[in-house]
Subunit: 199 residues, 2 copies
């Protein structure tokens, strides 16, 4: 309505500013462990500004989880060279997947989603639909599009492949199992490929 860009010029920027502060705070301390004062400090705005944008604490938490869920639902970029062997492609896919899972921002989101899954079941379902299901489908689709791999049950195989990798990350990174039984992720990926292709 003015000479500015369009609708509510500074408002959207401030909204994003709040979201970033809220993401940092909620991902570190969880829902109950986070205070609105903390979020206000981390965002550089006052509490009232947050309340006028997001209504209440639950509204803010829901907003940041929806934002993060959308962000981490992005597909794995997979530049497949046609002259690579099936094993090489799978290896590249698996390691790319593991590397993304090891991103501290994703690990923190995963921890909070599991930790708050009883308090916010709908958000957990959203995470399952957007993040888990898409990762699973990416591998299922790849298996189906490449019958030369000789995989009989792409759905089950994706469950085992993705499941082993996800659990590896949860145990090693979130539960500090890497300090008790250290393990290189490459060995796990290579072994999984061997199991899956040798049938």
């Amino acid at each position: 309505m003015t000479t500015e860009t369009g609708i509510l010029p500074g408002t959207q920027a401030k909204r994003q500013q709040i979201l970033e502060g809220a993401i940092a705070t909620f991902l570190q301390h969880g829902y109950e462990g986070t205070g609105m004062n903390q979020v206000a400090d981390a965002s550089g705005v006052t509490k009232q500004t947050i309340y006028s944008h997001f209504g209440d604490k639950e509204g803010l938490f829901t907003a940041i989880i929806e934002e993060l869920t959308e962000f981490h639902a992005q597909e794995l970029p997979c530049p497949i060279s046609p002259n690579d062997s099936p094993g090489q492609v799978l290896r590249s896919l698996g390691q790319r997947f593991l590397r993304r899972q090891k991103d501290p921002r994703y690990l923190a989101l995963l921890r909070v989603m599991i930790g708050e899954s009883e308090r916010f079941p709908e958000l957990a379902r959203l995470f399952s639909r957007k993040v888990i299901a898409r990762a699973m489908e990416a591998f299922q689709t790849y298996f189906k599009q490449h019958p030369e791999l000789g995989i009989e049950d792409p759905d089950l195989t994706a469950r085992v492949f993705v499941g082993s990798l996800v659990n590896f990350i949860v145990q090693q990174e979130l539960l500090y199992y890497k300090e008790i039984a250290p393990f290189e992720m490459e060995r796990l990926v290579d072994y999984l490929i061997k199991l899956i292709l040798k049938q």
Copy 2:
């Protein structure tokens, strides 16, 4: 010191009573979501009684996690009939393991351990040592003691077997993935056995 049983007759009973109330409350609401008044109500004692037994909130939480960790560190009873085939034994082991993981009390503990793993890293390490490592070792030991299964790398195989099952439980039960992609655990167990034995 009296005519009673031995040391502090009613005291140990009250301590156990507090622990039970605290377990129910902390497992449902997490650490920050639980108030000492809630624990007092759930236990049927007053707050001061809790403080005189456990010092502070952290002391109480630590005590219940140590208790639960010890409880869930128990080995899987595995009555192996010598005339069962390797596949049948593995299947029985896997299903017994999955059934135990699906126990709501274990699921709640797993959720809290992951959710609070940054706030209480030492408790997460305890859980890893007592619960995760022992489950993993049980399968490793079985694989090593039965070379007729033809498993080359028992450690890696246990990681894949246990990892797939644990991740299945986490996704299906804690993140409601069973509502999005329902799946019978028997199919997963059977497929894993097929993968592992067919090499």
